[in-house]
Structures are given as structure tokens and as C-alpha cells.
Symmetry: C2
Subunit: 208 residues, 2 copies
């Protein structure tokens, strides 16, 4: 049976990366989709683990070849999700987690499939601004622009299924883990996993 | 903001009581709705904690007075959920967990309100039979009848939202806890909790 796609989105600086990292350690049977990007590597990031860091010409070639499930320009750089990786994992019954921007999430939503949409929001704009400043990865112009983008991105919240307000890291991790586990035991998915007909066999067992 | 009603249902002997007991220890802000019943108290049960054990005349009077959110005859005895308790808790923002039979769950479903429906199923009929025998609370006739009832109850699974197949107690507890936490962070409920307008105030904070 196919895996489930978990789409985690939200503004830059909200803490998605930390929440996702801790979640992946706790939840079984889920893999992280490493995105491609043309933005420069930040200190501490690892090529092939945090992102595949590629040149702009390479990225555009991949776009031409239809290699992305979704791609977008975010804060002047390109980001994309590799279609082949995601499809293979899902076909093999593995759940996949995407960490993508809000535009990208909207693209994936149009392409449907069995997916769960989770928005991670900051407790306030002030908090978001402080986190971006603390992270030290933006200059003043970029900072202002990210805050403006954040306000716009928040307006998409109603299109998502879950909203995690990241006030406390452990609580946010607990919420994301809970969403992943709970979605696995939705009736439709549980019945698919078990083979629905088995429930109605007289006296039969129905767990594989 | 109103609390959420969690309706946990499934056949006798499936392990609902144990799962719920452990879940209530782990999850905050949720109270258990103690049902009324006319069945005799089993060894180890406490009046007012496991059930309110009442006489049949008392129960019928409560039915007449409209005191039950739902009530049903299950295996020759009456069971009912106290409306006043549930409504007060929900009004005060407390989440409430009901442990009721499948008929009762169907009644609650008709009355709607914000509720989450969770079915707990045995891994197989053989397993269910063994658990009922081990529990030692049924004679042979009752045993056969409970198994027949179980088969019929399983046919209601598609009307529920979540299905927990109770093979492993800890895993089932983890799944029920996850469902409760995940449902709290559904976008609609999260926005209600935060006050939706706050997301769209310019530069404003939006967590109470």
C-alpha cells in the first residue's frame, strides 16, 4: 500500500528545520525529502542532507526535464522537490515528509494524491523577527522582506489541515509526531493497510 | 472555546478500558465521562469511577427526565452517558472522552457537535474470544453472544474516523494519545483557540 505524503510548510525562521529534525528521530517509517536549491549553503549545512545545493543552470535543466514535483522562487533563490524520490518512496509504502515553502505546498495540493498539509506558524511577528535576527543569516533588507513574505504566507493557513504554533519546540515536535501517527490510523488508511474485506469474513482473522 | 468530544467505541473485550486508562494519564486537559449502567459491578470496579452503578428503575427515570446524551441496551443491560456532565465540561473548554458501545456512538453522531470518532478493534476474532475467556466475566452463552455482537459492530467501522487495531497496548495508547493531540491542532480548532482575526492584524502578536 502507498505511503502518505506529509507536507510541512510555513514562513522562514519559524523553526521548521528543528521541529522536523527531532520528529524524524522519533517517528518510524518516514523519510525526509531533500530538496534542491540554488541558494548558498549556510554554515553547518550538509550537501545531500539539508539540501542538494545546485547551480542555477543545473536547476533550470532539471525544471526542463520535469524532475520536480514542485519548484518555486523563494527569496530570490530556486527550491524544488525531486519527483522521482517522492514517488518511489510512496510506491514502496514509505511515508515522505516535505519541508517546503507555502507556494510549493499550494502546487502539491493541486496535484493531489494522498497528502497531509501542516502549517507551522510563529507565535508572533515579533518572535519571528527575533529568531531571524538571532539566526544571523539575513541582512536588514532580506529581514524586512522575509517578514513581509511571512505575513502573506500566513493568509494561506486556512488551506492547510493542521496548524502548529511554534512556541515551544518539544510541544511542536509532539504535535507533529502526533499528526503523523494519527493520520496513519485514519479509518480509510487503516482499512487499506489491513485489506478491508478481511473485516467481514466470518470468524476470520484480519491482521496480516 | 468549546472542548472537543472524543467518542471511543468498539466491541466488548477489545481492551478499550485499559487503553483509555493509560491515555488519560498521558494527555492533559481531557476528562473521562463516567457512564451510568444497570449491569452488576465487576470485581475491581469502583462506583463513580468506572461507572455509576444504578438500579433499572433509577435508570428509566433518568431516561424519562432526558438526562442522557445517549443510552442503549447492551448485552441485556442499560448504559447511558450523562448529558449535563458532558455539556458542562465542553462549555468550559474541557475535552471529554466517552467510552461507549457502537449503538451509542451512532446516536451521538446524529446529534453532531464537534466530535471525533475512534473505533478500537481486536486483531482477530480468535484474539477477542481469548481475551473474553481470560477476563472470565462471561459465561458460555454470553461469550457466544458477545462475539456475534462484535462481528456486527465491526461493520460500523467505516462510519468512524479512526481505527485502532489493538494488538499491542502501548502502541494503541500511543495512537489514541496522538489522535487527541492531532485533533487539537486541526486548523479550524487552532484558529478558534487563537482567535482567527489575530492572524491578519498587521504586525500584531496572535497568541493569547
Amino acid at each position: 500500500m502507498k505511503g502518505v505524503l506529509y507536507v510541512v510548510s510555513g514562513p522562514s525562521g519559524v523553526g521548521k528545520t528543528s521541529i522536523i529534525e527531532l520528529t524524524l528521530k522519533k517517528v518510524k517509517n518516514i523519510v525526509f525529502s531533500v530538496s534542491c536549491t540554488t541558494r548558498p549553503k549556510r554554515p553547518g549545512e550538509i550537501d545531500g542532507k539539508d539540501y542538494f545545493f545546485v547551480s542555477e543552470p543545473s536547476f533550470m535543466k532539471m525544471v526542463e526535464n520535469g524532475e520536480f514535483l514542485e519548484w518555486a522562487v523563494v527569496h530570490s533563490y530556486y527550491y524544488g522537490t525531486l519527483k522521482k524520490f517522492v514517488e518511489e518512496q510512496l510506491e514502496n509504502g514509505k511515508n515522505v515528509l516535505l519541508d517546503i515553502d507555502v507556494q510549493g505546498a499550494m502546487t502539491v495540493m493541486k496535484k493531489a494524491g494522498d497528502a497531509v498539509y501542516i502549517f507551522i506558524a510563529p507565535p508572533s511577528f515579533e518572535e519571528l523577527k527575533q529568531r531571524l535576527v538571532k539566526r544571523g543569516t539575513e541582512d536588514k533588507t532580506n529581514l524586512e522582506r522575509r517578514l513581509e513574505d511571512a505575513k502573506r504566507e500566513l493568509s494561506f493557513i486556512p488551506q492547510f489541515e493542521y496548524l502548529i504554533v511554534n512556541e515551544n519546540l518539544q510541544e511542536s515536535v509532539d504535535q507533529l509526531c502526533s499528526i503523523i501517527v494519527a493520520e496513519q490510523v485514519r479509518v480509510k488508511r487503516a482499512l487499506d493497510r489491513l485489506g478491508m474485506h478481511k473485516f467481514f469474513e466470518n470468524g476470520g482473522g484480519y491482521v496480516e
